[in-house]
Symmetry: C2
Subunit: 195 residues, 2 copies
DNA sequence: GTCTATAGAGAGATAGAC
DNA sequence: GTCTATCTCTCTATAGAC
């Protein structure tokens, strides 16, 4: 017979983060109460404070972990031609984000609910990721293979376009992820290529 | 000497909407109290209910008004060549959105705080706007001037890219709006053009 | 039309028993 | 580690005076 009280730190901890992630993505950070998270996990509200000092830190850890996994998952290969490095980035970005819709959603929607210090930390990680794409675009521009007026703007334009996939793509929809990636790659490639 | 009580419906009404818009954009719908809005306007919380039946309707009216103004402001000209219609759309979209950062922000961030019926109404308006761009892309594809695998995806990709300008553009920054529009137009044009 | 006052619900976080 | 109970605060919305 299952206990209803006792030690469960190794399973409850992850469950708290999973429940918070899902509820924050669904209803928004401010609209989700600690009681709602606890209810999803199957504990009382007070028990959550064994796993996070407060609600703010819970959000910060979710966003930070997501950005760190993003940075860890993408490895550029500078020995490739710029166009191939760009193709790898596009493929990676769409796949990685399509796999984690909740993480991506709160990473864009809940930034303003971070304390100023926590916001700066997450922004720094995001900036690191953007810099990797900018380096690829700059290498192609330097080699004369790309025609880009301003690589920083092009970086932001491409990332906005690719991340937009998450607002509408659903597995089992009209198009497969491979088809989606193929079209986005075609558009991105043409948008930066020199005539 | 100014009265502190009395009739001010013609000035208080707009002030309520302006204050709500600014505060919702800054702090998020769920995080903004009716007291905070009232304080910004210079009245007590109870007085707000002369202008809106509730907080939800206040948000809905802001989003609805924005989408209706967007639809009213853009007029396509089907007598032009597809590439010129597209150029006009890109120019219009970036300018219109750059002028209304708060409206654009809440239109993307606060959709989930709408009631289901209100959400459907706003979504229908957004869909109308997307359809106008899709019609342009389709006309160019039909004429063989554009090379687009799927015009619906291309529509969403272009809009995501263009709307992304709002996340970083600031008047008085490194680049003028005209320079920004020039580069985005270059990228959009190339991304849909055939060989 | 605006005020003051308040009803009624729900929030984040903590204390102490087990 | 989890529970129950609770402190303290804030919220939306309404009622009735002016």
């Amino acid at each position: 017979m299952a206990r209803t009280t006792g030690s469960h730190s190794d399973i409850t901890g992850p469950k708290v983060r999973e429940a918070a992630l899902r509820l924050f993505a669904q209803n928004g950070f401010a609209a989700v109460s600690m009681r709602a998270i606890a209810s999803e996990v199957g504990v009382q509200a007070g028990a959550l404070y064994n796993y996070t000092p407060d609600k703010q830190t819970l959000l910060f850890n979710l966003l930070c972990t997501h950005m760190e996994q993003l940075l860890a998952a993408f490895t550029d290969d500078t020995s490739l031609a710029p166009v191939d490095r760009l193709r790898r980035f596009v493929d990676f970005h769409i796949r990685f984000h399509a796999d984690r819709p909740d993480e991506v959603f709160i990473s864009y929607m809940e930034l303003r609910n971070l304390s100023p210090e926590n916001f700066s930390a997450v922004e720094a990680l995001r900036r690191q990721y953007e810099d990797r794409l900018q380096a690829i675009l700059q290498s192609g521009a330097d080699a004369g293979e790309f025609d880009i007026a301003d690589t920083k703007i092009a970086t932001l334009a491409v990332i906005a376009m690719l991340t937009g996939v998450n607002t509408w793509f659903r597995v089992g929809g009209r198009l497969s992820l491979d088809q989606v990636i193929a079209q986005y790659w075609d558009m991105v490639r043409k948008s930066v290529m020199s005539g």
